[in-house]
């Protein structure tokens, strides 16, 4: 089974299973008794027809993608190449009736296009467009025989829908995977514990705090307190846009846990909005040592640790 075909540079004529034989059957539909016309046979007939019209249908599809302003992140040549390989994989899936190959292909395709900023709407859009283009071609071919057209659509539509679903789900899964990875990365990055002086740590918090992040933050801080033998910690929350009762309670717990390890915590950078919210919702922060800004917090910490910063006269120019 072909897992995935890389986009061909051009539209080469693809030698396929004897189209002559199949097309003969499609030319003489009456030769096959309708009662015994199984879906598989119909599907094979459909695929043969769509393979014959491959170049024309694919170009039509690409034209409509560009017309609908989908995939704007990609150049026309790229769209053409991707369309070619999607088209072939689509037909293979229709023919074999198995979704593994198209699933693997959708995963690889998504891996390529997710970083380009292609949206779910666009992926679903192009797959549905392909479905439309192909269905129209089937309409045109079988419009003379309404019964046969109905049976053809009965065979075609469920298969096409399955493929569309598979591709869309594959894309969404890939995107979710990327999002999860990025969340991990942000989480790792966003909680640095910085030693600034002997026994003094700074923990700048940027962004929203949720329960998981608060816990991770506290764990990291406690470990840093032990390894740096810190006595004072300044937690700066200038970069925290909003705070609710939960987050405030997390903060109180962090302060309590640090104290159990013998470190004192100073919280700095409470914005006016946060101060108002905290007072309004009635969170008791009286146990917490707060200072207006980070500079004040560091000065207070230095005082507690017995440091004194004095300007050196010679250094002034």
């Amino acid at each position: 089974m072909r897992a995935y075909r890389s986009p061909a540079p051009g539209p080469p004529a693809r030698p396929r299973l004897a189209p002559a034989r199949i097309s003969r059957r499609s030319v003489e539909p009456d030769a096959v008794p309708s009662a015994r016309t199984s879906k598989a046979v119909l599907l094979r007939e459909i695929v043969a027809h769509l393979r014959q019209g491959r170049t024309q249908l694919r170009d039509e599809w690409v034209r409509r993608i560009i017309e609908a302003r989908l995939l704007t992140a990609m150049s026309q040549d790229e769209i053409f190449m991707e369309a070619t390989s999607v088209y072939d994989n689509y037909l293979d899936a229709l023919e074999t009736g198995t979704l593994e190959a198209v699933q693997a292909y959708a995963g690889q395709l998504s891996e390529r296009i997710v970083p380009r900023g292609v949206e779910t709407r666009e992926v679903v859009g192009i797959v549905l467009l392909l479905r439309d283009v192909l269905a129209r071609s089937l309409f045109a071919k079988y419009r003379a025989d309404f019964q046969l057209l109905n049976r053809i659509l009965d065979a075609y539509e469920p298969a096409a829908n399955r493929i569309a679903t598979t591709v869309a789900v594959g894309f969404v899964q890939e995107r979710e995977r990327v999002i999860r990875e990025q969340q991990e990365a942000i989480r790792e990055l966003s909680t640095p514990v910085l030693p600034v002086r002997e026994r003094l740590l700074i923990l700048p918090i940027i962004g929203l705090i949720d329960a998981q992040r608060a816990r991770q933050l506290t764990e990291q801080l406690l470990r840093a307190i032990r390894s740096n033998r810190a006595k004072v910690v300044v937690i700066d929350i200038t970069g925290v846009p909003a705070m609710d009762a939960n987050v405030a309670n997390h903060l109180v717990r962090t302060v309590d846990a640090s104290r159990l390890q013998g470190a004192m915590v100073i919280v700095t950078g409470l914005s006016p909005e946060i101060a108002q919210t905290l007072v309004t919702i009635g969170v008791d922060l009286s146990k917490m040592n707060t200072v207006g800004d980070l500079q004040g917090g560091i000065e207070e910490a230095e005082r507690l640790l017995g440091y004194q910063v004095v300007p050196v006269p010679e250094a002034r120019r």
Partner: protein
């Protein structure tokens, strides 16, 4: 098994090695309170580095020791709370309010030195 109480200058040091039963904890409390008077101790250090869990009874007993000790003239400090222990304690709402804490034994000794020096000099001592 009981907890050995060591005398070190003006201080008493109790190092908890294993998880203690409630009876052991009460024994530790009674022993410490008695020995504060006997040795005229000015400070008590309870080292829980080896503990991986502190339940509510243990916290309560430690708070009792701190209060009773203060009444008999000794300052108590808890040292060696591990990060995991600290986390689970605050999750349970056990924050050891009113009890001094320090990172480890060394820090505890420094803390008591400062406390007792300040007390004997009548609040004159200053940070370096």
């Amino acid at each position: 098994m009981g907890v050995p109480i060591l005398k070190q200058g003006y201080y008493l040091i109790a190092t908890i090695q294993t998880a203690l039963t409630d009876t052991d904890l009460q024994g530790l409390r009674d022993g410490l309170i008695a020995q504060i008077g006997r040795y005229r101790a000015r400070g008590v250090i309870i080292d829980i580095t080896a503990l991986d869990v502190m339940d509510s009874f243990a916290v309560r007993t430690v708070q009792d020791i701190a209060q009773m000790g203060r009444l008999r003239g000794a300052e108590t400090v808890i040292v060696g709370v591990q990060p995991e222990v600290a986390l689970s304690m605050v999750e349970l709402g056990l924050t050891l309010a009113g009890v001094n804490t320090a990172l480890d034994l060394e820090e505890g000794l420094i803390f008591l030195d400062e406390r007792t020096k300040r007390a004997s000099k009548g609040g004159e001592a200053r940070a370096p």
